[in-house]
């Protein structure tokens, strides 16, 4: 699979810029204020390649807070920002499986 990091920028709808936080790898989203947040609803949403490129360029320039920066598709519904594919849903919400904490002895 071609990683989203290697894909050419193509925008076919609403998108956000996402990355992993450097210190712990947590999934983060770029805000309109030029900061990073773990709350997708606080992410800056863009809908054109030009706006996405601008947001992405600024985000990539910050090479210390976050890494592996790329543009991800989202859906807007009832004022919420939702991931538009399974990969992004898993990045936002975590594994779809029950984590093995219930193995306990």
């Amino acid at each position: 699979m071609t990683s989203p990091l290697q894909q050419k920028l193509k925008i076919s709808g609403s998108s956000v810029v996402t990355a992993n936080r450097l210190a712990d790898g947590a999934v983060v989203y770029r805000t309109a204020e030029g900061t990073w947040t773990t709350d997708i609803d606080s992410a800056a949403v863009v809908s054109s390649a030009e706006a996405a490129t601008s947001l992405l360029t600024a985000a990539k320039a910050d090479g210390v807070q976050a890494v592996d920066v790329y543009v991800a598709p989202v859906k807007l519904k009832d004022g919420r920002i939702l991931p538009a594919n399974l990969r992004e849903a898993i990045r936002l919400r975590g594994p779809t499986i029950e984590l093995p904490i219930t193995f306990g002895i």
């Binding site: 790898g25 947590a26 594919n85 594994p95 093995p100 193995f103 306990g104």
Partner: protein
Amino acid sequence: MYLYDDFDRTLLAERVAEFRGQVGRRLTGELNEDEFKSLRLMNGVYLQLHAYMLRIAIPYGTLASDQMRKLAHVARRYDRGYGHFTTRQNIQFNWIKLAELPDAMADLADSRLHGMQTSGNCVRNITTDQWAGVAPDEIEDPRIWAELLRQHLTLHPEFSFLPRKFKIAVSAASHDRAALAIHDLSVRLYRNGAGEVGFEVGVGGGLGRTPFLTKIIKPFLAKRDLLSYVEAVLRLYNQYGRRDNIYKARIKILVHELGAEKFGREVDAEWQSIKDGALALDPAVIAEIAARFRYPDYERLEDSPPALAAARKADARFATWVDNAVSNHKMPGYAIVTLSLKPVGKPPGDCMADQMDAIADIADRHSFSEIRVGHEQNLVLPHVRQGDLPEVFRALDAIGVATPNVGLVSDIIACPGLDYCSLANARAIPVAQEISKRFRDLDVARGLGRLHINISGCINACGHHHVGHIGILGVEKNGEEFYQITIGGRADEKAQLGTLIGPAVPYDDVPDVVEDIAQAYLELRQQSDELFIDTIERVGVEPFKERVYATR
């Protein structure tokens, strides 16, 4: 167990200190990600979907109980209380924080553990038979040769930047439990017609998007020549392997394009120039390595003690478990015990910190403090007194690692898939969970006999789907997960790649498809002891294909 010396301890301490400095410089921005990425990968640190992942090498799958406890400590202190054993006999932690990694690595180094060469374009962890040293069907302990190769190829300056990763497996048994044929380099120890023990060397195996099985380029290699010959293979690969295209960079492509015969001749030419030099093995060196493998002080015991027969009679669950998970040992009165990390409905290969600690305790009491990791993502206690089996069963059962499904349909090999992996394009773990739930009735599973299912969440094939009796490959089509099904693959001494049976099926259909294939097998087999894989060999894939797609 192999006893590490001061050289190993110093190496690990220096490596941790070096990595601590690199992480510090990365966190302050002194190093950028491009500069840092290759440094972290050299220490087994990946960035996955949700977090960093640390992969720790378990050379030839052998763990001491104190090392298992240290893995439990790392799981609790730095991760989320569990780890994942992999098809390379390694363990991965999925939720490590970069800032805490140097401390985790320092703790691991105290117990002789590290992540070096578990990533990157170098020689990866060398794997072998998880029953090495105790298997009745082996001619000698293959780990001595794996250790020799490990020492020679750890931080080898010439081979630290190969065209692509390089995986070696070593085995010395008549039955291949190490999946030799899917490795870049396979080393099989055997006795030839003249009674000499040496190596059969194969190259160019590997799965991924272009799967190949190894081709034998050296039918018999004397022991003294192992290092020089492997060096010659790596030199050829290093020089001629493709660096312009990541999809064609593995040695399997070079061997395929050049032809195994020509590749073998080129290796021979290179080898002739070095075989009698510094790499020719002095028997004293081998003896020194062999001497550092300490074997248990076995008692003189008889096979099948009366207490075992009585316990079998008294407890049907125990008898079922013995039949499934206990295997013959080379020493009378001892047994090899496989611990299933495949409880029904749980992620294959995952192990909780509490389980790790308990397994370490059980190993101390009953297995001379030794544990093995198998490429099937199960664990092994290699030296259990047969008379101890009832107590061992109770202890393992209490911590959930005594499901009697070893080698059965629910003993599934699965990669982490899209639930964790940044390369995946479909999930693997939930598919495995659903299949194991579908076959939760162990009478049904036993009725099917030996049946290996392998699941990969992308074409990189970490779940070895090409060599599963039933192989399942996740693909993504228009945002939906679909799964291609192959059958007839196997990774043993009769290794072969599976055959695709038809169009990919949706996520929800996979358990039904597996059930259809299983049902077709039950109807097609000639007698109850004809294995699934043998039925496919006899009748081909067509009857299975017809069954699966008749209603789809």
